[in-house]
Symmetry: C2
Subunit: 432 residues, 2 copies
């Protein structure tokens, strides 16, 4: 074992930072054995110096300025756990990389928005490297599995359940029959959802992770702007019930896949068979499905958030740094990453779709809807009209394979018929 300890600087001592500090200090011998050299936490920075974090921080150098810590010559590796796509977090990571240091971060927003520039900076600066296992699916070693474990594969598709808060809410809606808003309120009370839930329920957090995985999987520049994002706030209790009736579950799925027209990146609620790999994922658990030409498919599941699991990923990156395992940020040289193709949103979105139409209760309306579907090129695989008490009869339809453009056209035709009490709802069906 090298006599020279790896000196670690940590910026941000929230839940993840405190957990990371705990393991690095209280389990130091164990982690050093795995790292092949002594490790020491040398310097830290956090807003509150007096807070009890359950760890003795008295011997550490405290900084007031995170950027000064990041560039400090006394530290060998910089751990960024401040968060946020811009501002201080970005400044610290840039400073550390520019100073030729390896950086470990859990910051998915930073990676998704500035990953390309940071990867280039890391690559042109001797000694610098960028590690972000904790940014994707928390404790699940998804980045390592994709970037290293599947390095021999031509990746065809990366998909998954990438936000535990959303999966918890959808699972609760299934179990209780409650509406989205009520379940969200409960989730906030239980600490499973933030006071401002937009990043989670709006799909942005999961979209960050999808964009990061897509960059690695397809060897292309980060294209967060190219992710089509739809959150779960519009998922209704009616659609949850309809999904169950047809053997499906609604899941917020991220899917990045190679098509003849380019790489599609879509993050949205989908219906998936209840007994499929992703349909079976319950509660706050995350799941990542990696598909490649050699392996077929492998699926990784586990805790996608929380102090311990996220610290587990941060520690793995620190051990990699200690061992000198510093692959290019997105798996191949930054200069070789394929440029972002225009028009990702125009890639055909083909598959089966779910459609729910609330019909006015008068003769002939169903026939009119069926005709509108046919005129739009949408062929019906299954159709059900449900019992109803009010003045609208819910009709649920599963289509044969078609394109989203056909579904959109069909919905417009149906609205124009004025046979519905509310606009039709559609959702992509994904056989995960």
């Amino acid at each position: 074992m090298s006599e020279d300890p790896l000196k670690i600087g940590i910026a941000g001592l929230g839940t993840v930072g405190a957990a990371t500090l705990h393991y690095l200090i209280n389990e130091n011998t164990r982690i050093a054995a795995r790292a092949g050299r002594a490790l020491t936490v040398d310097a830290i920075v956090a807003r509150d110096r007096t807070k009890d974090r359950g760890v003795d921080t008295s011997g550490l150098r405290w900084f007031d300025d995170p950027v000064a810590l990041a560039a400090d010559p006394g530290i060998d590796v910089f751990v960024e756990l401040i968060g946020g796509a811009d501002g201080v977090a970005k400044a610290t990571v840039e400073a550390a990389l520019a100073a030729g240091k390896p950086v470990v971060t859990a910051n998915k927003a930073l990676l998704a928005h500035h990953g390309a520039a940071l990867a280039e900076l890391a690559e042109r600066t001797p000694g610098a490297s960028l590690h972000y296992e904790a940014a994707v699916a928390g404790g699940i070693p998804a980045v390592k599995a994709l970037r290293e474990g599947m390095a021999g594969n031509g990746i065809t598709r990366v998909s998954g359940i990438l936000n535990g808060t959303c999966n918890y809410i959808l699972t609760e809606m299934e179990t209780t029959g409650a509406a989205f808003g009520d379940v969200l309120l409960d989730a906030q009370k239980l600490g499973y959802a933030e006071a401002d839930p937009t990043a989670d329920v709006g799909g942005f957090d999961a979209a960050h992770k999808l964009a990061i995985m897509a960059a690695i999987a397809f060897g292309r520049q980060m294209d967060f702007a190219g992710v089509q994002i739809e959150g779960i706030d519009s998922v209704s209790a009616e659609d949850i019930v309809a999904a169950r009736d047809m053997g499906y579950r609604i899941r917020l799925l991220g899917v990045a896949e190679r098509t003849a027209q380019g790489v599609a990146q879509r993050l949205r609620p989908c219906m998936t068979p209840a007994d499929s790999a992703l349909g079976k994922i319950i509660g706050v658990t995350n799941a990542v499905m990696l598909e490649g030409d050699a392996i077929g498919a492998t699926i990784l599941t586990g805790p996608g958030a929380g102090g311990g699991p996220t610290a587990s990923a941060v520690l793995a990156d620190i051990v990699d740094v200690a061992r000198g395992n510093t692959p290019p940020t997105f798996g191949i040289a930054a200069a070789d990453l394929a440029p972002i193709a225009k028009g990702g949103a125009d890639i055909p979105d083909e598959g089966a779709f779910y459609l729910r139409v609330m019909l006015k209760d008068r003769p002939g309306t169903l026939a009119e809807v069926a005709t509108a579907l046919g005129q739009s090129g949408v062929s019906i695989h299954r159709m059900r009209q449900h019992d109803h008490e009010g003045d609208a009869a819910p009709v649920t339809i599963v289509t044969h394979r078609c394109d989203l453009a056909d579904i959109t056209a069909a919905k417009e035709r149906i609205v124009a018929l004025t046979v519905c009490t509310e606009p039709p709802v559609s959702m992509r069906i994904v056989e995960s």
Copy 2:
């Protein structure tokens, strides 16, 4: 990218070798980009030079002697795909390591039987390293996830479904109700089981993988002899049905866990809840569950065998070698691996158990069995007597938590009662 190509020598061109060769030759550019340097297959050895493997091997150096290839100064990394715990495979790996070369192997038997000595040889020889992702769970990056991705964790338990043939047979028995022998015959006809199925159905193949994972997880010397092994050949159609009735499935589980008395390694058929992570695994799929103090649990599933998936793991190791990612064989320095503790088999085996008793159809027998259980310290959680046509009434029991020793004592008492038409059957219940 380095101008100097990494020259690869491959010994053994069966299914996995041919698939590895295919990707290295036909997808060379893609893999070289991931590896960060040019890769070239330089030399090969196989029993049959004339066989069509779907790849142009005309430009390669053919060797007659695998050991000569392994030590040849012209190759930079040696890939061993011959197989077998001893003989030629072992000689080649030793020769390559002694010559200071990185070795990539899919040989779980070799690792399980000689891992300790090989790890020491790799570590004391400059330039040598030993890579074996393909030896555990085929394409699933289980070794990488455990050795690197969970490097910060104190591992508490490693478990899984580690043999696809056995899981296929158990799943078929569930689906069809057929007996073990009949399903095995079908599996052999379909190519899912070998002509000599002992390594698979006897549990030895899975036990090799469990021993390898336990060495990494617990930082101890390989202890294959310490694995308690029981195959699936004694699993009866009656127990499959009884499991289903109680909400369980029978799975061949490998479990290595840290206990107060030492590390227990057990590979045997268990009952596990049908909706648990491992109970849900169907068919030839493998699953690996890794539990640690920071992460909680993460589960990896995927194809555990086959040319493509296993080649995927071999290629990942080759890319690691190309990038210089060569951690110690079992995650920490070989000299620091804990010695094998004596008496692993004496570690208490505590949990709930399933018990099936075939009672003679006469009054009072059930009371006698219940009394025998009580006398043995076994407390009943659930009991069911089933419909029966013959002269024996099947009684199935789920116990409260007790030790295997109590179950063994209870079975002896029950046999002595002479109230049964056949010896009682027991199986550990694992809440996976």
